[in-house]
């Protein structure tokens, strides 16, 4: 009996669908920067709005006790740093996944950021909890399939990185 697993689909249609999936996830992150307004991110309004209000939801509607402690003692007192950091990470997630550069790395970052968001808002009223489970699933799919190789920049540059050699090329090969 042959125990070698069947290879994943590599037809043109499969690769187009994978690219559509990757671009859609990139656009998810991109669109959700529209309501994050620097430089205050809602911390200067009463009642709180924007990213500040959603961060407070992690305390008001507890999901995970250590996260509540982190929000109260580290994130809120240093909100500007946290907000700019979240803005930068999500901008890079949208940017890199959109064009398919270092896709496996950014899919892993997407899983971490999804965890932070889930800990903040999973129990917030009117949230559809499956949204966050689906975010995990789609980032796992991008990571598992190295989706940037299908019509992404990774696909164009991996042969160059492989031929070039060197530490940076090895890092980029792993990240893509």
């Amino acid at each position: 009996m042959n125990t070698v697993p069947e290879p994943l689909g590599s037809s043109r249609l499969s690769r187009v669908l994978l690219a559509v999936c990757r671009v859609t996830v990139g656009l998810l992150w991109i669109q959700n920067l529209s309501w994050k307004h620097p430089p205050h991110f809602g911390s200067n309004s009463d009642p709180p709005q924007d990213l500040y209000a959603w961060t407070l939801n992690g305390v008001k509607h507890e999901v995970f006790a250590p996260w509540v402690w982190l929000v109260e003692h580290l994130i809120i007192p240093n909100f500007a740093v946290f907000a700019w950091g979240a803005f930068a990470i999500e901008a890079c997630l949208g940017a890199f996944l959109l064009v398919g550069l270092a896709t496996r790395f950014w899919a892993a970052v997407g899983l971490v950021q999804t965890t932070a968001i889930t800990f903040s808002v999973l129990n917030t009223p009117h949230e559809w909890f499956w949204s966050y489970f689906l975010m995990y699933a789609v980032h796992l799919a991008l990571l598992a399939t190295a989706a940037g190789r299908a019509y992404g920049v990774d696909g164009a540059l991996r042969p160059v990185w492989r031929q070039r050699g060197g530490r940076l090329s090895r890092v980029l090969l792993s990240a893509s």
């Binding site: 949208g94 940017a95 064009v99 920049v153 696909g155 160059v160």
Partner: protein, 132 residues
């Protein structure tokens, strides 16, 4: 320097086409169909840079591809600085505009600044037989 036959030129041209297509993502009035916020000037800048990327990709000149990427990066930085610090908004955008422009910037810069492939790097940009 012109690129030996590889996937870099077509991929750069593809990014340019994709950037132009993104102009439609800003047409709707609001969510869920407005994915990116773009004012009139922002749309014009996006289309000009997209055309530059397509031309650079077709010409397969790495310097031009990198230059198109630098144009996108400059537009992203302008948008970020204006929404973060100055209060002005020449491109009529927001954070979504920053991320969109940044995406095409990093993509084109990575392609334009990549080490020049040699003839035996003649692999199609599909990743189809990529096992690494």
């Amino acid at each position: 320097m012109q690129i030996p036959r590889s996937g870099i030129g077509p991929t750069a041209a593809g990014l340019g086409v994709g950037a132009a297509a993104c102009a439609v993502l800003g047409i709707a009035d609001g969510p869920p169909w407005r994915i990116v916020t773009l004012g009139g000037a922002g749309t014009l800048v996006l289309l000009i840079l997209a055309a530059a990327a397509v031309a650079a990709g077709i010409s397969a000149v790495r310097g031009l591809i990198a230059l198109a990427g630098a144009g996108f990066l400059a537009a992203a930085v302008l948008q970020l600085v204006q929404i973060g610090w100055t209060g002005a908004n020449l491109l009529g955008g927001d954070g979504s505009t920053v991320a969109l422009l940044l995406g095409f910037a990093v993509g084109l810069l990575a392609l334009g600044l990549a080490p020049a492939p040699t003839a035996d790097t003649d692999v199609p940009a599909t990743g189809r037989h990529d096992r690494a």
